[in-house]
């Protein structure tokens, strides 16, 4: 078990390098946008990964509310945190891509706007976790996670409908994709998914150790106070 992590780490690093090579060298150059379009191979996998992580957060939160297992609470926390990291990358690479292609840094198009709202919801989740009284944090956070997940279809529908009434250029282009590009995209997605898994695993272990330490502190201070009253 202890060896699994470093081995997976090395494999993931190799996979990421290979995916990078594919994205920069092997993938065909796009006709209208040129080389800048290669940002797509980092932008889209990050978005998909963030989405999967937020879904895991939703499931873990429900599991926690039903079963009250601390492990579920940790999974919820970890998936939200790492999800926000990947979502941040989507929101940073998006404008970097938009600027040379459309001439503007931000476009209130469907995908970027929805991603921004998603980011806001999960950041507020993390803020709640940080600021709430520790005893009640897991339950409150789980409740908020459910609200956030319920909100997602509304976010997508409302922005979609708004955009059909006030059309904007669509980021990343619509339409069909060259199969060679799809292949490179999927390789990058696989690489980033493995990477995300390892990051989550590390964060999970860190959180477990942290909670054990906090419990040890609590026990220690209890032990001291009972000793002093004797």
């Amino acid at each position: 078990m202890k060896l699994a992590f470093p081995i997976l780490g090395v494999l993931t690093a190799i996979l990421l390098s290979y995916a990078l090579y594919m994205a920069l060298v092997v993938a065909p150059t796009e006709q209208t946008m040129g080389d800048v379009q290669r940002i797509f191979y980092y932008h889209v996998p990050s978005a998909w990964t963030a989405f999967i992580l937020f879904t895991i957060n939703f499931v873990a939160s429900i599991v926690y509310l039903v079963r009250r297992k601390p492990a579920a609470d940790i999974v919820a926390l970890v998936s939200a945190e790492v999800g926000v990291v990947f979502c941040t990358i989507v929101l940073v690479t998006g404008p970097i891509w938009a600027r040379p292609v459309w001439g503007i840094w931000w476009t209130w198009d469907m995908r970027l706007t929805s991603t921004l709202v998603l980011w806001l919801i999960y950041v507020s989740y993390l803020v709640l976790r940080r600021f709430s009284a520790s005893g009640e944090t897991p339950v409150l956070a789980a409740a908020l996670a459910i609200f956030g997940a319920l909100c997602v279809p509304f976010v997508y529908f409302s922005i979609w409908f708004f955009r059909t009434q006030h059309p904007q250029p669509v980021m990343g282009g619509g339409g069909s994709i060259d199969p060679r590009m799809l292949h490179v995209l999927l390789i990058n997605w696989l690489a980033f998914s493995c990477f995300a898994f390892l990051v989550c695993w590390s964060r999970y272990r860190l959180e477990k150790v942290q909670r054990d330490v906090e419990q040890a502190h609590a026990m220690a201070s209890l032990g001291q106070s009972s000793r002093s009253t004797r």
Partner: protein, 40 residues
């Protein structure tokens, strides 16, 4: 290589590395606390 492309890829890895460094620093702090707890 197109500078926007470079910026995007660099930004991605900078963000990932920044997050991972916070994990590492929290872990080293915890390790110290564990050692202290073990001593007392």
């Amino acid at each position: 290589m197109n500078r926007y492309l470079l910026a995007a890829y660099a930004a991605t890895w900078i963000i990932h590395i920044a997050y991972l460094s916070t994990l590492v620093s929290r872990y080293t702090k915890l390790k110290r606390e564990i050692d202290e707890l073990k001593k007392s």
